[in-house]
Symmetry: D2
Subunit: 286 residues, 4 copies
């Protein structure tokens, strides 16, 4: 299989208007670009148009470093929010954990297999429990104990560390602390895994509550984190059947498999630049 | 395929204690019964033992009409709640609807195919919209318009009708009225279909709310109805993936398929005597 | 909810080449069209580009009856296979059945609910068993008994009947006969439901074979019918978990639910003009 | 949560006959045992009764080391095939791999989390590629290169190694060699993961063939290995939806998640003594 050539990816949304597809594809075509993947969605209620366009740089007449500047007036004229990415970029990630390791091992294992289009550069935790796992996979581990008094200053230091390493994405892989509102002012993108099919069982102990309620299906939800706990835009969800035979412990066990798969899918989709956040929802161009 | 012989089914739960399985199986064995299906569950937290035993009447030494009396002292000694059923019984059902027909057509179609171990004898509605469908399948239709003033007296009349027809089970197949607390004093068993994966989106307009929240999975829940709206014991649930491409109308369309399948499965399981209610949960012996 | 305006739908595939999206969207934009839904796919291995474009006729400058003629040179220049449809068209369908009714009742029920964008005008069967169901839903029923000697001439008559009613799509809803090669020379499009997750268990008695093999999942497959039995392009599939507790009869019962849902979804997708056949595969723009 | 007490597990099957449940439960009850989990299944076609009984050793009057001997005459009288296990046993496992690591990392990660009721003592491979992963998790790695000439003698050595370590279960976690018939004469139990929903796409390159066939669902199958390649008793299967948007590489990526989850579930069920092999099928008491 030949190595795929480098591609540019445009992720964009704008107020719906006639000619959007024509104008965007014209920009790429007139510069010699070959569109290899295009997807579009119109939310008629909200009057919003969204698109993802992927084209080959090979043969494209604009030098790579000028593409964003050359596209800017096109986007401005359409009152568009947009970003352009390149498929050979390797965004840097930090994984935040507490004491449970299944999501961390899974993500580090995928990095080991070359299945993550990015680089997990840091593991950060409020406990030291999982330090050996980070080390085993040769990823730097940083311990930031958190209590009520220290939370604000510790988060400040964590942000400094993230910036020092040019981290683009924080992945909360069973991090059992709530980030403070100030953290989000940093503009850092954060993905979390919640162990229920939200909006069912938001907050703590969803498996216990699922057991008590007697549901026949449990789930997991990966979402971007906002200041509103468990209310951010959902990226992916999945579910598993349970029955009266499943104890809370069985639900936890089955749930762990859901959690790690759903979180990894969300990280994958984000890094493939397939997720567009819009209002409190996502469009996943998959 | 030879016609299966008639079987007895014991559904029972009791405080957990040593020897329960031995005592129950001994009762059947000493009377010459051949157990063809046995399932059991112990809820260790609640200290509750539950079982479903199915044995052939063919060769059983107790005459069918005496079995319940002969079993009673065994059950009493174990402080057991129990019921015994026979697989050739045909319980009578009433289907309650409002204006949406997909669940009604589905259930009547299954009756037509001989796939329901019971007899749908009545269709009851607060509207006349679906009268032609009941008639088309040659099932009696009764119209009980409901408003705030008439609700109590209409429900009284409905209960009288149910009793006059020896109805054992009421199936709310998209009946968009809330039954009043008095109705439940009658002891009538009622199954409802709710168009969300409860406890997500209880109450009205779940698809609109699912759309607004941006969930990636929608669902349906069949449950026994109690006085606490949408809080009764869950019998079955199922889900379907949705994406940003699905409008509210698409969710309604996909949801209809979930609703009719999940409701029919719950009715099937109930009529097969596979559902044991216990606290606010069910054990489904499937 | 306001009635959606009429839209045109272009379904097309062509050898991949630069500028395809630009040229197609330019055609629509320069004639004042507003694209409300666009999807595209490139099969890099096969060098094939495929697209579905949907735009509003309201405000489109070309009169509806001229659109196909005006598009033809654009399509020719791109060596494109294409069709243009309008969302207010109501294609005519014939449902073919043998003795099992669950898929027929389901499809007729959907027509009753207004959920099919088309018109089921005929029910055709090699048996008389299901005539009462067609009549109950007030759809014309035609009986064509088939044996080896009569097969060819009966199919001829069936084709004449289809043509006389301008039938566009034949739906084999558990029609247990194999159509002869000559039938396909007519160019009629035919969708079939097979009761396995093809390519597992092609041919007869898939549930019996699934039971014997001890699979933990059963399925159903809706596909376009070609001369190669059970080998035509797959439109949709779905599955259901089974266990050792499921007898062959249980599998048949669970399978019926799969069959009717999967077949209905395939018919829906076809009538929404969301399915593009290409080689022996489909692209489903959903 | 208090530590659960040790329990005995009986897995058994026998020709169906009256009184089986009574006799088995009587044996446990008369020795003071408290049954905490009981499941039973009768295959009426084959005339086979199968059961799994789990009871607490705490309070059981027979000393643990005598239970098998005391049960033997009961089992013999019923012409029963049976095994008795204890929940504090830690069976030893060997994982066999070739070059793909996702299943290996997943299983070793579960061992690290304490989620496997057993002990992975060996990793065996025909390549050296994954040696660092075994070492990273501190599990002994053994390299047995295989070619046509050496296969027989290498398998001999592998069996010696397994016996020397008292290995009870071999897990083929993407081991891309076929074991020779002689290997199975050893009586070693072997679980394999196949990357398709068998019996679809047996043999090599199932994802390529799934892509070519245009299926809408891919799957994975965990099964006991017999001399008949890909034909052994199925323990578990799971599936994932795919579409035309998925390339072969996407299917491989989605399939890896299926493979590791399904294989881990099968190993879990085996070690929990929940799987009874019977003919070429399994009964999974879950």
């Amino acid at each position: 299989m030949p190595k795929p050539s480098v591609r540019a990816v445009l992720l964009a949304c704008a107020p719906d208007q006639r000619g959007l597809v024509a104008k965007l594809s014209h920009f790429i075509y007139t510069h010699g670009g070959n569109i290899v993947d295009a997807d579009q969605h119109t939310d008629h209620e909200a009057g919003i148009f969204a698109t993802r366009l992927e084209w080959e740089l090979d043969g494209f007449l604009l030098p790579r470093e000028t593409i964003r500047d050359r596209f800017a007036p096109v986007g401005d004229a359409l009152r568009m929010q947009w970003s352009i990415h390149f498929t050979d970029e390797r965004p840097r990630l930090a994984i935040w954990v507490s004491k449970q390791e299944h999501c961390l091992i899974d993500l580090l294992g995928r990095q080991r297999s070359g299945d993550i289009r990015g680089s997990i550069d840091l593991v950060i935790s409020n406990h030291q429990t999982l330090q050996p796992i980070a080390e085993q996979f040769q990823v730097a581990f940083h311990h930031f104990p958190i209590d009520t008094a220290s939370k604000h200053s510790q988060e400040e230091k964590e942000l400094q560390l993230l910036r020092a390493h040019n981290i683009e994405l924080v992945v909360l892989a069973k991090y059992m602390q709530i980030l403070s509102p100030d953290f989000f002012k940093s503009g850092m993108q954060v993905i979390n895994i919640h162990h229920s099919f939200l909006p069912a069982f938001p907050g703590a102990q969803p498996y216990h509550r699922a057991f008590t309620r007697g549901v026949k299906i449990i789930g997991a939800t990966a979402h971007y984190v906002t200041q509103d706990l468990d209310e951010g835009p959902i990226i992916d969800q999945d579910v598993s059947r349970v029955s009266h035979r499943d104890s809370v412990e069985d639900m936890v066990r089955k749930g762990k498999d859901l959690e790690k798969i759903v979180l990894a899918r969300a990280v994958y989709l984000h890094l493939e630049r397939r997720v567009l956040i819009y209002g409190n929802k996502t469009i996943v161009f998959d």
